[in-house]
Symmetry: C2
Subunit: 218 residues, 2 copies
Amino acid sequence: MGSDAPSHRTRVKRLPKRARYDAETIHRILDEGLVCHVGFVADGQPVVMPTAYARDGERLLLHGSSASRLLRAIAGGVEICVTVTQVDGLVLARSAFHHSMNYRSVVIFGRGRAIEDPAEKMDAVRRFIEHLIPGRWKDAREPDAAEMKATLVVEIPIAESSAKMRSGPPVDDDADYALRHWAGVLPFSLVPGEPVPDERLPEGIDLPDYLERYTRRR
Amino acid sequence: MGSDAPSHRTRVKRLPKRARYDAETIHRILDEGLVCHVGFVADGQPVVMPTAYARDGERLLLHGSSASRLLRAIAGGVEICVTVTQVDGLVLARSAFHHSMNYRSVVIFGRGRAIEDPAEKMDAVRRFIEHLIPGRWKDAREPDAAEMKATLVVEIPIAESSAKMRSGPPVDDDADYALRHWAGVLPFSLVPGEPVPDERLPEGIDLPDYLERYTRRR
């Protein structure tokens, strides 16, 4: 904990006691999240874009249009930084200063490469769908050749990564525990609501099982 | 819509019909979000970090420890990119290819500067608390001089920004509407749960009104 950073740049500098470097922690955060934020440098300028992703073992997979500037840059091998963040709660301390957030985040540094092999690429596309909605892949029309051609898929090794997290109650200065302010945690979670059927859905197509029992946490 | 980008780099290149450049849309997304992802370049390498923020009119405010590498870099005037993303739902199309996400995001390009004036800095700190928990500032101990010194606050003009969003049902190819796959939207929202009082909270301190009626959407 705090001492096994895979590289200098992944070592958590601020509040190192919040850092984790084990694959299990990192994978769990990645598997729960819906979007990542990808940073790259374009003409010397940092650019941060949200996008969907999936994980395949020790690889992070990203995809998008073959015309996407972001995806083309990654396929071209530029350095990127991918960050996934879950907000778990607001931490209300007695002092304004010690207010905080409970969260779990993963930061990955690396370079990507395009996945060209048709079978490997199709498997990656399946993983994007299954990452968001487990069970969905078999209940949707598979991509055809033109759609696969219009899609760029890249992989980034997760190797150079770190997790950072905070959980639990506020930590106040000793003297402040005597203050009469409410203190505690307001939990937050990203939760699914009631599925909204498409207006053009024909009669007789029930809500599938994988949506009935949908839950984000796995 | 799609035509009033304040600069070349803020112009949304992919799917420009999803772009908005009006302040009202941009402010509403910023005011609802809890964390932003800040990108900057360190030794030629993009770095993306999640952090809390607040908005004051046409300025975005960030804060952190005076020792924070991120905050010091921003105070030093490096180019940054700040992205705020809300996930609103998963879009299940009949085809795997047309699966999508409903979301709202804002991307801001610019350079920050440190806020040094004590009154202005204290007002910014108040805004961080009020951004997360409206009504909380008056129910917490105000920062003292040492805490203010340990805090770095920076402002970034929101001027060079854009919003991008998708909402509504899936859009499938005409032929695919005949398929017997369920289609629609699985809505998502980041929602507060039941407040968890600190174990060290004395008897007789009730849950404050501003938490009883807490809601993220404003």
